[in-house]
Symmetry: D2
Subunit: 508 residues, 4 copies
């Protein structure tokens, strides 16, 4: 077993920017009409509680917004139907979520070409008329402001298009055309209400730094008072395909962090844009929705490392995605198909779900941050998350000792453990034979098998210090709280007469 020992001294403070709950990704907007989607999102919101949600397809045809008709004079006119948009936005707001609006893709009738992406056929060509595009954008924002109030809606960030640096997402990855789209859109949105914050270029990691630089140069030249910069962040090698699946190796996390740091430096090198917020509007390990890694405890441990550091140079980072109602490669055949989601179809939380749940609770001053743990002071105690990312060739077990300042009084150490042994629904599903069609009984069982193991023990501060010992299995993830816990026994209640288990000082 690998042993690590860390000491926190009285007064230690460590930088840690926790934006875990700022934003979450979603499959295309029309999927939000689905009941199963809503149930998964409700689960995520009840346990984690994100503040924004971002995904594609606002203007795609299945949302039914853009329509054309011929008027009495024979002229072709646009009209807008917001029936489905209302349903979606109502549902988000009801769950405490504000949209992080991504403007795209192109309605078929407003498009200049017929190139599409994904099974669901998002059109990725520029508008046939920028006037038409501007009118669509403005009508949509004005409708939202009518319905939800201008104060509310103008607080929703607006991002222009998605990954224009990829020819699959934007015809020919045409940079000049994207810049035109950006400028037209930026000015159209501000005309509706200058309080809107608008940004881009929403690129992913191909030729990314050049795009960022050119984008900022363009904005500077056009005197566009950009509100924020957006990019994506995925951290696996190119996946190997086998049948319906893509198997991808994890990168060393440092590569990704350096890349993000480089983006930060480029932005800060523009005096006009120094310090501008950078939003990672998508991140995950693999960028394909059929990568079984997403369903594993290893993914959960890896993402813990990400959440401990992504706040260093970014104002938000939106995990792609909350759930597995997702059709980019078609409807998935099985519940554990390697989808992006925190929740598998059937409403089963994956291990990474708990990474977010645990980081959410890290409120307070940070006193320790390392490759294996983050600890914050909370009230008169502590909260922390520890993880044990297991890559090949290393001893899979980790013993972690955290020596902390404490009062000379009793504490309760509470731990919630997620690892391959105690919270691994993927394994249970595999052991059941990998059924594609879950019975209600199997769903219930998988949910039972997808909960952290909760345990407690009593510890005592001595001479101002106390040591927390955590043993993590391979790819284990532990949330802990250290709570002041003076005994307040009822008259006559004596644990020694009740059960030996009440009298044990610590685990195992």
């Amino acid at each position: 077993m690998i042993q690590k020992h860390y000491t926190v001294s009285q007064g230690d403070l460590v930088p840690f920017h926790n934006h875990t709950c700022q934003c979450i990704g979603t499959g295309r907007m029309a999927l939000a009409l689905q009941q199963e989607y809503q149930q998964q999102l409700a689960l995520v919101q009840s346990e984690i509680g994100f503040r924004h949600i971002r995904g594609h397809g606002l203007f795609s045809d299945d949302m039914g917004i853009y329509r054309e008709y011929t008027d009495v004079s024979g002229a072709l006119r646009a009209e807008y139907c917001f029936t489905y948009l209302d349903l979606v936005m109502d549902s988000y707001l009801r769950l405490g979520l504000r949209p992080f609006l991504e403007l795209g893709f192109m309605p078929e009738k407003l498009a200049s070409g017929d190139q599409t992406i994904f099974c669901w056929k998002g059109n990725v060509t520029p508008p046939k008329s920028y006037d038409g595009w501007r009118d669509l954008v403005q009508a949509t924002l004005r409708h939202l402001m009518d319905r939800y109030g201008p104060e509310e809606v103008s607080a929703w960030p607006v991002e222009v298009w998605n990954e224009p640096n990829l020819p699959g997402f934007w015809k020919d990855a045409d940079m000049d055309e994207y810049f035109r789209l950006f400028e037209e859109t930026f000015r159209a949105v501000k005309e509706v209400d200058s309080r809107f914050r608008v940004g881009g270029p929403a690129i992913c990691g191909v030729d990314d730094q050049r795009w960022i630089r050119c984008f900022l140069e363009f904005c500077r030249e056009k005197k566009i008072p950009l509100d924020f910069v957006t990019r994506h962040h995925y951290t696996t090698e190119v996946p190997q395909t086998r049948g319906r699946y893509g198997y991808a190796r994890l990168q060393n996390p440092e590569e990704g962090f350096q890349n993000l740091e480089a983006t930060r430096q480029i932005v800060d090198s523009f005096p006009e844009y120094r310090g501008l917020p950078i939003h990672i509007t998508e991140f995950n390990t693999s960028y394909v929705p059929n990568c079984p890694l997403h369903d594993t405890n290893q993914n959960a441990a890896y993402i813990a490392g990400q959440l401990s550091r992504l706040g260093d140079v970014n104002q938000s980072y939106s995990y792609w995605t909350f759930g597995d109602i997702f059709e980019e490669f078609g409807v998935p055949f099985t519940p554990f198909h390697g989808g992006f989601g925190l929740v598998a179809n059937g409403g089963i939380p994956k291990p990474t779900f708990w990474t977010f749940r645990f980081f959410r609770d890290l409120e307070g001053d940070c006193v320790h941050r390392s490759e294996e743990a983050v600890v914050v002071r909370h009230g008169r105690g502590y909260r922390g998350v520890a993880w044990n990312l297991t890559m090949e060739g290393t001893d899979p077990r980790l013993g972690l000792q955290l020596d902390l300042p404490a009062e000379d009084s009793p504490y309760c150490l509470l731990t919630k453990t997620v690892d391959e042994q105690v919270c691994n629904p993927l394994k249970v599903w595999h052991d059941l034979g990998e059924p594609s069609s879950l019975t209600e009984g199997q769903k219930a069982l998988l949910k039972e098998a997808a909960r952290p193991l909760v345990r407690t023990c009593r510890l005592e501060g001595l001479q101002g210090r106390l040591t927390v010992e955590l043993n993590l299995e391979a790819n284990g993830l532990v949330y802990f709280e250290l709570l002041p816990a003076e005994l307040t026994p009822d008259r006559g209640y004596d644990p020694r007469l009740v059960s030996a288990s009440l009298c044990e000082g610590s685990y195992d």
Copy 2:
């Protein structure tokens, strides 16, 4: 570690009468009006699903049934108010429960004396008028038949009074008076509808066998066509009091089983009553509602042994009680106060809750029954419960090997474990400092800590046999299923490329 090895041969059949869900006990009937009571009962019903419920106090004054007034001629008359009775019965039926009616205690105005029992003051004296009593009983049954239909209501068993062999429950433990009450009541009930099944004498373990014998002699003499016999069954020594609590030692289970066997023999010695059903209308370890033992894993393991054998000579056995809304010794001060319930206040399942949940699922032909386990054949696989009752001075760990007939094909072994390490809410509550007033956060935490640990592994039948190995910690309880589980992998899905955890053959 103690090692046990059992072999089941093809075709083995073992007697096992599983009446786990037949009946459950409850605090006095007026408590059923309470919201917290109903929430606890709903939890119990959703997870276990008992068929009948029995408790005291149907006619006690807080149910508001019996009332008197003076009519215009100056005569005192009885009248009956069924408002609360309807609320209670509606709630039971809604949860799938039928009452096992216990007729008692005495309404204050109908009583011949003022002796009461418990904080809630149940009057335990004979009626001042047997005419009045009969009228009350008949009016109540007729009202119930009007409301719920005669078919339904006449299927509810009727028991006369509670523990008349104790002077606290029946004035002077007056046997002759009880026999009179019994006969009057028996005939009154049958007059309403002869389909009602009526029994007694509902005694507990003081002078019990003599009471049973005299009761049957009385019935024989009076030619009462008794429908069933009832008694209680508690299995601890007299508790030692300390402050508000009573600490009781467990008896060797054999003592209790022998006592029940003796009752069976007495009943069968009467030709008129041979084979008559015996209902244990109350059982538990301790008979006091302030015994911390009730909250422990040891209690769960002990009750497992009870459930494996109580069906041998009894047609039902009603655990006393489902929940901890209970006021016999006054309102409890803390959530874990040693109440009788399967569920602690706050809605937290105690370990013994799972004993019932697990035995409930033992449907099928029994192939093994020992001091540590019961196994039944279920479909093409097996279900079983194993337990490790830890008394003083023995090695607390148990390794159990069950060698079973099987097909030469893959199986999934599913286990749900409840032991002092993984499912011990009492310990978590203690470690938190034994708070009397739980915050919502503490309640949620205790519920999380009160769930079995669910795990699976894959096994393979070989030459017609397969061995299940279970390792039980002190006072551990394990439910397992052995399920045929042929792999049905989706195109391209390869567990070896996903996670080492999917490829492990068995636990640990």
Copy 3:
């Protein structure tokens, strides 16, 4: 006011076959994934409770069932994904509904052409390979039988395609090709399980009787043991288009009934098929989903007449549709857009919803059926529905007197009224200004305004008879019950001392 007086004599019995709840129509199957769809359906089921549901699009691409891939040998192979099908079928069964399976339309990749229908692009061409089609049908049925059990699934009726007599729904309305499809499908289904009942030709009213006759001749020639015949039934003239809407005049109901009678006679003229069930797998007033008539009280009154007679020669009649989540002409712009549904978007019951609710409760022997009412004996009382269909040029008010056999004792007359004054959500929506985007407050208000007015009065039977008087406003619909209601006053309760309103003998 028009006055009608009917007398029912002791012992009168009138034929009335009430199949109101047998089946209901739905928008295409993939819409069943939507949350709003499910909420509307849950409302319908909780108040009405249909037994079957039928709609298009089982095999359309948005259900994601049919997929192709190239195997290692380079051959193109089909595979089937049932993820969404499970979600839909689970949801139906949970709501107490069985599918009335309509097999269609054609998956794009299995199609022989690219002709589509509706905004949602259902492909209406024959299969490129009948082997492929049979395999798809059989694989789907076998999957359903695996998941829900063969007993259950083989009880679901199967209909082949939809309205093949229209060139929009079946390429060229090619009768021979349809007959081929029918035979291939019929035999494929029976091969899976001979208990399945299979029928067609699902035609609507263009050249309908010729199609029926030819279809039966074909079946006879091919010795196909047809299980039932299906057709549709709409009862308006061709709609006049204005902007987005189609305005249609109601036909005299007699025309439609005669047409159905003719179909019955054709079927019965084939000795092999005499008495075969006829299922009307779609009916409504207008056949376009943008006809404001659907939202009116007039529609409710007209459908009342339909429900009183459709059972005469048909075994079921499926109103098209239960709700307004429906995209044939695109996503609707407003909640009251003349959709087919019993429920408007936002969850608001339209007047016709109540026609079904009221007819559902007509259980018992029919004692009266006229152009304005149906009355059945129920227990010791009566239930009835009366309606006042108001066409142009007639006095809009109707006074109806029903003179009934009765006991000489008190009754309660209960009425539930739906008319343009008291239950007309369309009017409320119009009066609010016809908002396209409803606020939560407006939705709540519209629901409040969409409930029947409930009233009661006391009547007394005299000399074995009793007269019920009902006054119906224009397009009014009334459900009534006549309940024996002996007074059972509590001690001292005197209505005369409470309120004059309690002492009134009848309405107004």
Copy 4:
């Protein structure tokens, strides 16, 4: 029909203090443990939303708070159990309610005598020890502050005892003893947290003004910085008893208002206490819980008049009570037994429920207040309540015309009507035969019959004015809104082609 015509001029402002939702009464606190109680309260809160709740019995023995035991030294000691108090307070806060704490009655063991009140036996004698009483009060408040936070709990008003001017509620109506209790309690509470607001003397209308005066003189003399004054307000004559019921005649409302005005003047005559808030901690028509008047439409109309004026000199007025789970005269025999509640048992809103619902929505500047109506400006329109209290000998119908300033544009007039014809569940229950034990079907029917009739019509402002005409039946109550409602028709939607009912300009 009586005709009334009122004109509101541009700029008119009328005093109207709307404290409708400030406080509501409840049966004794232990009843709050009941499920039916909680369901009724949840209904009340979802539709009305009171801010405080006040009732008796906080310290009565069924709450289980006060307990005594003998310690090892043989001394008798008090201890406090807050298990039930937590359940009750949790439930209130969950429903958005804060307690208006009434400190009383006396725990049996702390009492100096054995005089009790009501079936539930509230002890009404002074404490045997004022030290014990103070300790009980302080321990309770401190526990509440621990659990809910000092900020929260110190905002709960505290009232000392109930109706000490009646010998039934306070032994001998002993004024000096009450004053002692008040002073001791006042100082004890302030010692816990000086932010608590404490008041009394909670008297009802017997010798009331003398008590108020003496109380204030006592406070002045003792230099008690009183926070508010409390009293009760009932407005019927002494009831006539008949069997189980009390029939009471309504007083002319003016008598009551004058009495309250007199109290205001007494308080203001003390310079120290001028302007001190007066809280009416109980009001209703009759003060007995078996008065059928409470269930009538007449009660609803009478209370409308009360709500229009009680705010004139009082800071709150708490209707006694929200629901009919209430045991002062024993458990009620029937659902409509004349209980105090806004909701009848079974969850059925009585007409007076709607009086509160309607007044709740009167937010905005008042422009009209008369004996029949209150109207406020709301946004660009109006809201109002009108009522027609029908006493004997007057024409029961009222025609009300309100001539209002308006824009020259279209409006929607929305009305919700509650009267003896359209919303009178008492009548429906009577017509059903006055059943004591409601079936589920009867409950559902009574709820359907207990909803206001909602209607709308379109009106048009002309030359800056608009007239609203309301026709009220006997004891009718109407809520109305006048909403600006410009038509926004969808393309091609023409109401004239849809239904004549859409084109009507106003009602009837």
